[in-house]
Amino acid sequence: MIRSAFASFVITAVLLVLVVGIVLVPIALSLPDPLAVLDTFVFGPFRNPRHTGNIVEMATPAMMCGLAVAVMFRAGMFNLGVEGAFFLGGLATVATVLLVPLPAFAMAPVGILVGAVVGSSVCAVPGYLRARYEASELVSSLMLNFAALFIGLFVVNYFLRDPAAGAMVSFRIPAEAKLPKLIAGTRIHLGTLVALAACGLGAVYLFMSRAGFEARIVGSNPSFAAHLGLPIRSILLRSQVIGGLIAAGAGGIEMLGLYQRFSWQSLPGNGWTGVVVAILARDNPILLIPAALFLSYLQVGGDLIARNFDVPSEAVGLIQALVLVVVTAQAIMRNPRLIRLVTGKKPAAGQAQDTKAVEGSVA
């Protein structure tokens, strides 16, 4: 299983490299020293330990958000609440650290835990609405992301705002709450180990535990799950709560790992990165690690050329956009349910609907 998933991961990665080349080569050629541009993009991230560190730092939230997405995708849920959960998780973590008097050693763990619980609501509520009322979790989670954003801005403005600051940012995160740095000269912090462990645990959950097995049955064929008499609703809800906890925890870790203050004024986008990573990794928790590192590597390479050459930042954005297109196109090709969501087509006529009709007669 993992070998075939890995093969397709490699194919996608090669495809991505080609796509990046198609954008990058003409840009490089337009500059005085094209080879230096390509060289910086490809090898630059490894020349300086700090830049290699940047890859790891960037991959940390990407892995965890990818894991959150994978756990929900595996249960058949296209819940995009990861983005909002990440945001709200970061905020609630910072709020806990700033507002609740805690002993220094407890600040980070308690903060992240509270952040995870609060933030997970962005995934759990659409999950509940889906399980209870058949409301599309795709739509409700997208909307709820914005609700989370504005609730967050309200909280920052009225409870956490540093009046001495010239912008809408929270007070400084106390140094004791920050996650310890692991490698001198980089910003790689304890959160990276947490993310790696989370991916490992995610694999255990999905492939070695009863609960994960049941979630995968529901995700791969709900009718089969109904045939077996599995409690589909609670499995769906459970998957989304777990996904939400992971994504929101990632938000807290990101804050305590890399930020001085809570300063997001808009959704930070890590959740979307998570979706891309999950698709690239074929929803396989172990493959999330190379997938996140690979995407971050492309990102750091792009940042380096934007920083060091006269490459417009739009070009780097273009590379990212193409990566997104390739990855989503693959996901859509592979997943019939996504096609239905995209085209608005109802589930396959006949059997599935008829079953629902019969179920509908329970009342």
């Binding site: 255990v204 009863r210 995968r216 087509k345 006529a349 079953t355 509908g360």
Partner: protein, 508 residues
């Protein structure tokens, strides 16, 4: 007639990359203007041979003679040029396009750069008149029934001026009346001069339609004869490679204690075909109760009630004397329910999951397969390997996805899972639809064995031979009611069931 053969296969062999020998020196001929049946178990090589004829695959050795000349058919396009058309088991229509668009797809009449819709429509109407296949050229394919989609698929094949039409198990997806209509049309086409290659493993259909039969077994030619010269038993022997066991005719067995009692049950469902209007029936321990009826007479509603996926609007169901009101599928399965669903890939398993996962799902919480929150993967695998051996599931291995299995093998694996719980009550819904004779016979034995051990079996089937072979008693559903209750005495024939199934008679 001593016509020259239209098509002759000469020593065709096909070895796949992984070393599987799919066809081994197969030679036979097809005369023009006949309906020629090709029979065999799943995996016997029928489909591979047809794919070679249609240009989808290339033979490793041997040649195809068309009108006496050796031809190479490297692609379906070349096959079409040579007048060979094929209707696949799985349709290749574009659901969002209209019937006429689908039919002309790939050879569109154009006006400038645009599709000439008027010409397309005219062509479709003309084809549909010529072959008496009525379809609405403007309907969107998605909205059509399976039978209508098949007509479109046939018209699409015919639109390329074919001389030979290959139909790969065309009746697997059809109800009996639809099958009859299809056969009438195929006879018309033969009368119009078309040669038809009909792939099937249903002897009844072969007998009803074809004039000549070729049997393949394990990639080899097992027999080739005009139907007039061979009886059913002989064909069955050729298909299965041994003398078919004595027909497993049951009927009139003494009934045990009532196990499942359905009394006065009504079900209001959104789909009229699922409604039930006052059903009373009892399934006893040790018996097989057959349920017959035209598709859509309430079978689906009955199954959803008995499996706990729906609750009756009025009326009650008891299970070993206990009322089941409010119990869901999980609770019923704990009480000893098992179910072979009609659509094995939709409800019976998950194509994307492995055989192990499919085989153990449902039992995975038992102590044998889990410790604490974790699964015992090794135990699951061992158990699955046992199932694969006992149920003769042909597969690449226990960790292959279910999608890698043919319909018959998948059904055997699903049956292995459902029988593994030693069920008190088994609902077998179309248990052998679309699977080969050997696998069907195997499943029949398992059902009979379960009943012999005291299990109660409810057999719902559209295959009247199967019904008459297995059932002790028979009830016939029509429009959500039971219109007849018959003891399965010797001498009960499909012809006697017909009028009840069509609602012309009632004996309840």
């Amino acid at each position: 007639m001593t016509d020259r053969p239209l098509i002759a296969f000469a020593g065709i062999s096909k070895t796949y990359g992984n070393g599987t020998l799919a066809l081994d020196d197969v030679s036979f001929a097809i005369r023009p203007g006949v309906i020629h049946a090709v029979c065999g178990e799943n995996g016997a090589g029928k489909s591979t041979l047809m794919k070679i004829l249609f240009g989808l695959e290339q033979p490793t050795s041997g040649s195809i003679l068309l009108d006496g000349e050796a031809v190479a058919i490297p692609s379906p396009r070349i096959a079409a040029e040579k007048g060979i058309g094929m209707v696949h088991q799985h349709f290749s229509l574009v659901p969002s396009l209209s019937v006429s668009e689908n039919i002309v797809l790939g050879q569109e009449p154009r006006r400038g750069a645009f599709l000439d819709r008027v010409a397309a429509r005219r062509r479709v109407e003309e084809l549909s008149r010529r072959y008496n296949l009525a379809v609405d050229p403007d309907a969107t394919v998605r909205t059509l029934s399976v039978a209508a989609q098949q007509k479109v698929e046939i018209l699409k094949a015919l639109s390329r001026d074919v001389r030979v039409l290959i139909l790969d198990e065309p009746t697997a997806v059809l109800t009996p009346p639809e099958t009859d209509e299809l056969f009438d049309r195929l006879r018309d086409m033969r009368a119009a001069g078309l040669t038809i290659l009909f792939i099937s493993h249903k002897l009844r259909e072969v007998r009803a339609l074809a004039s000549h039969v070729t049997v393949l077994r394990a990639g080899k030619l097992a027999g080739d004869a005009p139907l007039a010269a061979i009886d059913d038993e002989a064909i069955a022997r050729l298909v299965m490679g041994q003398a078919a066991g004595p027909a497993l005719k049951r009927g009139g067995r003494v009934s045990g204690t009532p196990r499942v009692v359905v009394s006065g049950v009504h079900l209001k469902a959104r789909d009229a075909n699922d409604r039930l209007e006052g059903i009373d029936l009892t399934v006893h321990a040790g018996e097989i109760l057959g349920v017959a009826g035209v598709d859509g007479s309430g079978q689906r509603g009955l199954v959803s009630l008995l499996t706990g996926r729906a609750q009756p609007t009025t009326g009650a169901i008891t299970y070993e004397g206990k009322p089941t009101a409010g119990l869901g599928t999980a609770a019923l399965r704990r009480l000893g329910l098992a179910h072979l669903p009609a659509d094995r890939f939709q409800d019976g398993g998950s194509k994307r999951m492995t055989l192990v996962e499919n085989a153990i799902a449902g039992a995975h919480r038992l102590a044998a397969f889990s410790t604490g929150p974790f699964l015992k993967r090794r135990a699951m695998e061992t158990r699955t390997e046992e199932m694969i051996v006992h149920y003769k599931v042909r597969c690449p291995g226990p960790n292959a996805p279910l999608s890698a299995l043919s319909g018959g093998n998948a059904q055997k694996l699903i049956a292995a899972r459902e029988f593994a719980t030693e069920p008190h009550f088994m609902i077998a819904d179309q248990p052998t639809r679309g699977i080969d004779v050997a696998a069907a016979a195997f499943l029949h034995e398992r059902l009979a064995e379960l009943a012999a051990k005291g299990g109660a079996v409810l057999l719902i089937t559209a295959d009247l031979d199967e019904l008459l072979t297995l059932s002790d008693r028979i009830v016939i559903l029509y429009a959500g009611r039971i219109v007849a209750r018959l003891e399965n005495e010797p001498g009960l024939t499909p012809e006697r069931l017909g009028p009840y199934m069509l609602g012309l008679e009632s004996a309840a």
